[in-house]
Amino acid sequence: MTTRAVEPWTLEPMVGFVQEAGARLVLVMTSAGQVLAQHGFSRAMDVMSAAALGAAIMASTDEIARQLDQPPFAALNHQGERHGIFLAAVPTNRGRLVVLVVYDLDVSSLGLVQLFFGQLAADLRAASPKPEVPKQVLAADFERDLGNSLNALFGR
């Protein structure tokens, strides 16, 4: 099982949640679908697809709530034959995050996931750092690397 965090402060809360709730897959992401932490996915790219879809579901239900002139829905749950999907948002110093949880119905349950999600949300809120001033990322001469990478990507 792959467990990793792009932003290290998200790792401990997520690992604790996975153990307590018996979750199979977990994604912690920004509301735009950028993954901050993940558990249980094997291919990085598939993680991105799941994140894009999860963020889109949250965004569309938020928009429905907005059009109904009510606060965003707290959480969404879809129950399948063998797996359940739970999606919820957490306001943090890092902005509004979205958590996607996939759980096996013979190992966990919606009640268990909801129970420990409250703790996950509190832990993420407490651990989230204040926004930083953006700093320079790439060297000024990145264009050559970019040109080489794209040429290789397109077989040129």
Partner: protein, 199 residues
């Protein structure tokens, strides 16, 4: 907003292909998907209607490899072009690091292109983003159609490219200009990161 992990030296950026219905946004992503090796791309996700019109978005993650020592991934999205899907179009724009505006070069589609460009500006403003501050390139697609039906890139620049951003003629169905467009927007987005600007 770009996600930069200084510890693992990773960058993830979101690029949105925007434009009127049937201008070729999804076709751009299909061409990229077909040309990029399996190991460098993820699954292409298409949320489409039964007639293959984009309902919510298409999504394609690609791995650019190492840029300046950072493992760099781009997430390519399209928006639904049809006018009545504006709510979903606005959602897909959220957190975009750069936009490719795919215009339909047919002369009779000029009004649709202008309307879509104004719609882009208005949807970005709803996210608090000034279109002038966002990396943007123009792609004039369907340049393979008979000359009497289309406008030349220079004419489309006059009509649509108010900011004088990089523009590319294209025939996305056969791949002409797709690579150049992706390269153009990649450069702008990464230049912004290199300058240390807020992403």
């Amino acid at each position: 907003m770009s996600l930069v992990n200084f510890t693992a030296r990773e960058i993830a950026c979101k690029i949105v292909y925007y434009g009127p219905g049937r201008s070729g946004k999804t076709t751009n992503l299909h061409y990229v998907y077909d040309r990029v090796p399996d190991s460098r791309r993820g699954q292409m996700v298409s949320l489409a209607t039964q007639t293959d019109r984009t309902l919510f978005f298409d999504f394609l993650p690609i791995d650019l490899g190492q840029i300046s020592g950072f493992s760099t991934r781009f997430q390519l999205y399209t928006v639904p072009g049809q006018v009545y899907y504006n709510a979903t179009r606005r959602l897909v724009l959220q957190g975009a690091d750069g936009v490719v505006f795919v215009a339909d070069s047919q002369a009779q589609q000029l009004d649709e292109n202008l309307e879509s460009l104004q719609n882009l500006q208005s949807n970005l403003l709803e996210h608090g983003v000034d279109v002038r501050s966002l990396p943007l390139v123009m792609q004039y697609n369907k340049q393979d159609l008979p000359r009497e039906l289309i406008l030349a890139p220079a004419d489309l620049d006059d009509a649509l490219n108010f900011r004088g951003v990089p523009s590319f003629g294209a025939d996305a169905l056969h791949g002409a200009g797709v690579f150049e467009t992706l390269k153009g927007i990649s450069e702008l987005v990464l230049k912004r990161l290199a300058a240390g600007s807020p992403a």
